[in-house]
């Protein structure tokens, strides 16, 4: 019996994406990851008296693009607000965020689950805000690094629409793929560019009233998210079943022990006293700017998956592999453009051969030597019988190494498939003459020897003879 027979799980997510800008949200200090502490900070990030924030225009474009991808209502006028609390990694004593009028309102994301069904997850809002600095605690003191202070973030808030950890993971994976596709966020979970907080509660099966929720904070891998939610679900059920109450609190996940634990409150009250940020007038996204961003939206992974299946007749799995990462999808599409008659073969070769040798990052790199058109050319050579698949497997590593074109390599190394009847006949005759014993056995009925003859002929031709033609000729000659 499953736990889900008696209980409903209810999960909503808050995802913080670090925007892939060069500079901070309100200052021109750099945002590169891993710099020496306090080397990427300027007066605005320090909260020095008299400084004024100036919003990063590129960040605004990113936030709008994310909103469009999630079918959100775009608020062309949005307001920044101060969220007030004291903590040493927040030098101003407030975080500039958006409260009542965020840049994006309601939207939704359709997520494909493993069983092929679709789950629609509502998006409540997306708002822009600045990140805080980082404190480390050592002995009697805490040490503060403000490199992260002012790094631009969007927070994507979902409705509590998810009812299984697998749905949460599928939602987060799709969301991450989208922001990476858009170039809005690098999606790096380990470096904290894509962080998830999950609001988790349980209720008796079918109950309408939601249970008290706990917020699981800053979980940095898909596996940990699943583990943390599973643990938290069972913890809350045990509390309720033993007659206790779930207390609303923020909890952290310890991956080594597989448990969640209550976080020590850094602020005794969540009384943030929001008010409109007086230093920033309302932000207006003009019709022209909005149209420009709409125009520049790439085809998103879900659309590509659907198109690859309908247009190229690929399986859902293959379409997924090819569309999950933008560099791979673009490579595949570039190769298909060169070999438009056989997209299925291109797909097979990308998935089975190219991705064995190279990752999405390799393919995206300027140093990657094989261009999509060259790869398409290689597949075209196979599908037009110029070379066999076996030979192609020898050509690809050479392309990867030298950057030379497939045709060029085939020409230079004399790898063209032999389709000349005379030449093939010569190979076949040689093999028959050299193996009189086996020929007799075959003619006496040992048909399994056919593979042996095929092998011998292919070997004699150094793999270049057209296998179909060899097969035909062998059959007729062996008949005697």
């Amino acid at each position: 019996m499953s736990i889900y027979d008696e209980w409903d799980l209810v999960v909503g997510c808050e995802v913080h994406c670090q925007l892939a800008t060069n500079t901070k949200i309100f200052s021109s200090a750099p945002t590169a990851f891993g710099a020496e502490p306090n080397t990427q900070v300027n007066e605005v990030d320090l909260g020095l008296p008299g400084v004024l924030p100036v919003l990063n225009g590129k960040g605004v474009g990113f936030a709008v693009a994310a909103g469009l991808a999630l079918d959100c209502e775009i608020n062309q006028t949005s307001i920044f607000a101060r969220k007030n609390y004291f903590y040493p990694d927040l030098p101003k004593g407030y975080q500039i965020s958006q409260h009542e009028t965020p840049i994006c309102g309601e939207g939704h994301l359709d997520v494909t689950l493993e069983d092929g069904s679709t789950k629609r997850v509502g998006i409540t809002r997306i708002h822009m805000e600045e990140d805080a600095g980082k404190s480390t605690h050592a002995g009697a003191n805490s040490l503060v690094d403000l490199n992260r202070a002012g790094v631009p973030l969007i927070e994507i808030v979902s409705e509590p629409d998810m009812s299984h950890p697998d749905e949460v993971v599928a939602y987060l994976k799709e969301l991450r793929a989208i922001v990476v596709y858009l170039g809005v966020c690098d999606g790096n979970m380990e470096e904290g560019s894509f962080r998830c907080d999950a609001n988790v509660s349980v209720k008796r099966k079918g109950a309408t009233e939601l249970g008290t929720r706990c917020e699981l904070k800053n979980i940095n891998s898909f596996k940990f998210i699943k583990d943390a939610i599973n643990y938290e679900m069972r913890r809350q059920i045990e509390l309720i079943e033993s007659g206790q109450k779930v207390i609303q609190q923020t909890r952290l996940f310890n991956p080594d022990r597989g448990v969640t634990f209550a976080m020590r409150d850094k602020e005794e009250s969540h009384d943030y006293r929001y008010f409109p940020e007086p230093d920033l007038p309302p932000m207006v996204v003009s019709d022209a700017r909005l149209a420009e961003i709409k125009e520049s939206m790439p085809e998103l992974p879900a659309a590509k998956r659907a198109r690859y299946q309908s247009e190229f007749d690929l399986s859902a799995y293959d379409a997924g592999v090819l569309s999950d990462h933008r560099p791979i999808a673009e490579f595949f599409e570039g190769a298909v453009a060169e070999c438009p008659d056989d997209p299925k073969q291109v797909a097979n070769w990308v998935i089975n051969e190219l991705l064995k040798e190279a990752s999405a990052d390799d393919i995206a790199s300027d140093e990657f030597k094989v261009k999509p058109a060259q790869f398409g050319e290689l597949v075209k050579l196979i599908s037009t019988d110029v070379i066999s698949g076996k030979i192609a497997k020898k050509v690809l590593p050479k392309m990867l190494e030298t950057g030379d074109g497939a045709e060029e390599i085939v020409e230079r190394e004399g790898l063209k498939q032999v389709t000349d009847t005379g030449a093939i006949e010569q190979f076949v005759d040689e093999v028959i003459a050299a193996n009189p014993g086996q020929v007799q056995e075959y003619r006496d009925g040992k048909e399994s020897l056919f593979g042996f003859f095929m092998g011998q002929v292919m070997k004699a031709s150094r793999g270049k003879a057209n296998p179909g033609m060899v097969q035909q000729m062998l059959r007729s000659k062996l008949k005697g």
Binding site: T21, N22, S28, V54, N84, S135, L143, P276, P282, M283
Partner: protein, 96 residues
């Protein structure tokens, strides 16, 4: 609307202010008076009026995404009462 002493203490705590007993009493009175005065605005009918967030009707100016590095870490630390390993050193902020 009257502000209680407890509310004054709560606001003081959020603002990290230390108040004496007599200050708390005085502030409770003052804040109540201010709120009462402002409550007069409730008499106005503002239905259909957009909430105003800024006094001056102006739009946000945006910045190009170009890095400009003006301060070194040494500059940063000049005002810091204490530092260690290039970081600001502050009293421990989480209790054990």
């Amino acid at each position: 609307m009257a502000i209680s002493k407890e509310e004054v203490l709560h606001i003081a705590k959020l603002s990290r202010l230390k108040l004496s007993e007599s200050e708390v009493d005085a502030l409770a009175h003052n804040l109540s008076d201010i709120l009462q005065y402002v409550e007069k605005l409730n008499e106005l009918d503002v239905s259909g009026v957009e909430p105003m967030t800024h006094a001056v009707p102006t739009q946000m100016r945006l910045r190009e995404d170009v890095v400009e590095q003006r301060l070194t870490r040494d500059d940063l630390m000049k005002n810091a009462p204490a530092s260690q390993d290039g970081m600001f050193k502050v009293p421990k902020v989480v209790s054990d």
